[in-house]
């Protein structure tokens, strides 16, 4: 299904971009071209200027940030800067990273209409077009909903619909699936594939979750952390020859490649070429059983003996604006358990986690360590329970890293403070940033600090809302490892996530929500066989299970 690239219509030559004249350039001397009807994947560690590149292509930078741009970008042979404002933008659809701040109207319908108005689309055909693009991303039932009441994933879908409404010649997607549930992420790629059958347009995608995109990508571009173009070529060469470099930069690899590297090191592959698909792993393995066994070894051991319960939840409901968001959930959670909360976009995952922490009032009863949540003294409660928000910046209240840690320690004891904060800094690997402002840290450091400040007082229960969202591979691993190590064995982690591999690897139980109702609460091993539940909650199989299924299917055929 690889579309045939034709001649280039976007040309970038020697592009260098800096935000300020005394700052290092974000992009250095970049040269590449985009062909018509081509699908381009841009890879790079966080902070390598991927988003900046997208804005430059759209003629938004340098004008809107007073940045300094050297070099030349041309669209159909004409310099971008020579176009009227808005002229090029109408040919390019852009989906930005932050789903919260790319809308200017109140409802989903009005937002799409706003785009159509801008491109002078004939009024009489607007209704039809709005319904069409909203349907493409499964948002038609939410046409009249107020945008600020949509969930993060739904907002992202709406942003994609807006970009598609323009029928752009180039579609730039900046992490379009970061907030989407696994099935929606997969469907987005399928939708684009289908659209490309009838329309000719190019796609430039910046993405962490590579697996869905692999079979439509024609070419990869890699930026390194200096903002230089490091590779420009076909994906199989990109991953086969540069997998090591990519991994060391913290760039996510497709899961097949990632598994392939490990297998190659363990000498389980027949030849040294890395597998691009699951079938290639199976064909390439010396012994498929050993392969699966090998890949399963680092899966976290499940708890065996039942332990005392931490949370007892009985008939919890929560409604807002006469809409039931959480409906009659009852469950119990034991010490030592790692619980994952999964479900489709807008199924009430964040709301439920907030109910658990007592951040929003709910109907029904929640008992924490045997006492009703309302009876807990606030200060006492937060000494045993930590809650990490999606945006780490929300949690910082002081002006330096050390003050952040001391602030959390303050409430407890005074004497051993100095010693303790040193210990913490060591585990955070942030000894150099002691006096830095929390806002100035890198993405990964911010995340680690936000988790750490929730745990320094020996909190036993940690609730995390999508802690790995938008993070590069190294950071994600760090966060989870840090949390798992820092929470005592008698404690518990509750984590909202769309990452099925993470669930498969760490979770003792998965709580699956569908429209605010609990439809599954058991170990993940049991979930993977329940195709009906997976489909209802927009979930997909983790890599390892998919591999097993392929193997089983193959054996069955033989």
């Amino acid at each position: 299904m690889i579309s045939q690239p034709s001649h280039p219509f976007f040309q970038v030559s020697n592009l260098t971009f800096r935000f300020d004249c005394d700052q290092d350039p974000v992009l250095k001397n970049i040269t590449f071209e985009i062909n018509e009807n081509e699908n381009l994947l841009v890879l790079g560690p966080s902070g390598s200027g991927k988003s900046t590149l997208a804005y430059c292509l759209n003629n938004l930078y340098p004008s809107s940030v007073d940045g300094i741009m050297k070099g030349y970008i041309s669209y159909r042979g004409r310099a971008l800067s020579s176009f009227e404002p808005g002229e090029v933008n109408r040919k390019i659809g852009l989906v930005m990273q932050d789903p919260d701040s790319q809308f200017c109207m109140l409802t989903a319908e009005e937002e799409v209409a706003f785009v159509l108005e801008n491109i002078q689309f004939p009024r009489l055909k607007m209704v039809e077009r709005i319904d069409y693009v909203l349907d493409l991303v499964d948002m038609l039932p939410l046409k009249h909903r107020l945008i600020h009441t949509l969930s993060g994933g739904q907002k992202q879908k709406l942003a994609i619909a807006c970009a598609l409404a323009m029928e752009p010649e180039l579609l730039i997607l900046d992490e379009p699936t970061a907030n989407l549930d696994p099935a929606s992420g997969f469907e987005l790629v399928q939708t684009l594939k289908k659209l490309k059958n009838t329309h000719s347009f190019s796609v430039l995608v910046i993405e962490h979750n590579l697996d869905n995109w692999l079979d439509i990508v024609d070419r990869c571009i890699i930026l390194n952390s200096e903002g230089e173009l490091f590779f420009n070529g076909p994906p199989n060469i990109c991953f086969a020859d540069f997998a090591k470099e990519l991994a060391s930069e913290g760039i996510w690899l497709p899961r097949t490649i990632d598994a392939g590297i490990k297998l190659r090191e363990a000498g389980l592959l027949k030849n040294s070429s890395l597998p691009m698909t699951i079938n290639e792993i199976i064909e390439n393995s010396k012994d498929i059983r050993r392969t699966i066994e090998f890949l399963s070894t680092n899966v976290r051991k499940q708890m065996v003996n039942p332990s005392p319960s931490i949370f007892e939840v009985e008939d919890i409901s929560y409604s807002k604006d006469n809409q039931l968001i959480i409906q009659d959930i009852s469950l119990s959670l034991n010490a030592g358990e790692f619980i994952a909360i999964a479900g489709a976009n807008g199924s009430g995952k964040t709301t439920f986690s907030k109910c658990l922490a007592g951040l929003i009032p709910s109907r029904g009863e929640i008992k924490l360590y045997g006492h009703s949540l309302e009876d807990w003294h606030e200060e006492q409660k937060w000494r045993r329970l930590g809650y990490v928000f999606q945006n780490p910046e929300h949690q910082f209240i002081t002006d330096s890293v050390i003050e952040e840690i001391n602030y959390s320690l303050q409430a407890k004891e005074k004497g051993s403070q100095v010693y303790k904060s040193k210990e913490i800094l060591k585990t955070l690997r942030m000894a150099k940033q002691v006096f830095s402002h929390p806002f100035s840290l890198s993405q990964g450091q911010k995340r680690r600090l936000s988790v750490a400040v929730m745990l320094v007082n020996g909190q036993e229960v940690l609730i995390m809302d999508e802690p790995t969202f938008g993070q590069d591979a190294i950071t994600s691993r760090e966060i989870i490892d840090f949390a798992v190590k820092a929470v005592p064995e008698t404690g518990s982690i509750i984590m909202i996530t769309h990452d099925m591999d993470l669930i498969d690897r760490y979770a003792d139980k998965v709580l699956v929500l569908e429209k605010g109702k609990m439809i599954f609460y058991e170990p993940p091993g049991k979930l993977w066989n329940q195709t009906e539940i997976l489909a209802r909650a927009n979930l997909r199989l983790p890599f390892l299970r998919e591999l097993e299924m392929h193997v089983e299917g193959r054996y069955a055929v033989k």
């Binding site: 808005g86 701040s101 109140l106 807006c162």
Partner: protein, 259 residues
């Protein structure tokens, strides 16, 4: 003929003209009559909840009472005024009484007209109408709209920051100084994210091909029909009828800069 479906710009014009007309007269009967008639029109022709109306009207009522009260207590006494009641330092004259009642009723009639507009008009439609009928620049109109949809976002963000602080044990405030410090702690992240959001939204609007060009297609066309002009006539008619009745009863006086 539903008020909620009228053209917002013409509706605004009608209200403006009526208020200007009403302000020519200064007697108790004209505003009283037009007040009653405006309320009648609001509830006959408009689809609004009585609760909302009362809720928004009560501050005006309070204001009117305060006006009447204060001008009764501290009146201007001209020679030749007929004194109704006198006690200690309070002197109530017939003229003063009439003036204060007129003033109070004037406040109420202005309020009822404004509420007629505010409660039956969708702000987005008003902006669209201003662009389509009054040639308001789309740049300004869409900036206001973007700002308008920011309000609930800021509220959500505030809630998140507040609970994040609560979790960290920063929610306790005992002294006044603590409270001020806390406002600073909320304000900085809120402002920082507000500025960042505004910047991103501006970029997003531009990326969607928005240029602020006046010549644009509108998805929702806000039309002007005969009924809209009928409303203008109706509201002017109300004021004139009130003034005429007042004249027949012998009350009508023009506003000559009293008070």
């Amino acid at each position: 003929m539903l008020l909620n479906k009228m053209n917002p710009s013409i509706k605004a014009l009608s209200i403006l003209v009526s208020i200007l007309l009403l302000s020519i007269f200064f007697d108790p009967v004209t505003p009283l009559l037009s007040f009653v008639l405006t309320i009648a029109i609001t509830f006959i022709l408009g689809k609004i909840s009585f609760k909302n109306w009362i809720l928004l009207f009560s501050p005006f009522l309070f204001m009117a009472i305060v006006y009447v009260w204060s001008s009764l207590m501290f009146p201007r006494v001209d020679p030749g005024d007929s004194i109704i009641w006198e006690w200690w330092f309070i002197t109530i004259t017939a003229e003063g009484f009439q003036r204060s009642i007129s003033l109070g009723l004037r406040v109420l009639s202005f309020a009822s007209l404004s509420l007629l507009f505010a409660l039956t008009t969708n702000p987005i439609n008003f902006l669209l109408s201003l662009m389509q009928q009054c040639r308001l620049s789309p740049k300004i109109a869409y900036s206001i709209m973007a700002g308008y949809q920011f309000l609930p976002l800021i509220k959500d963000e505030f809630e998140i920051i507040r609970s994040a602080h609560r979790i960290r044990g920063a929610g306790r405030t005992e002294t006044f100084l603590d409270k001020i410090k806390q406002i600073k702690k909320y304000a900085i992240p809120l402002l920082a994210s507000g500025i960042r959001k505004a910047e991103r939204t501006a970029i997003a609007m531009e990326s969607k091909g928005f240029t602020g060009d006046r010549n644009r297609e509108f998805y929702k066309e806000i039309s002007v029909s005969k009924r809209d002009w009928l409303l203008l006539c109706l509201l002017i008619f109300i004021v004139l009828v009130s003034a005429f009745t007042s004249h027949k009863l012998g009350y009508l006086t023009l506003y000559k800069g009293e008070l």
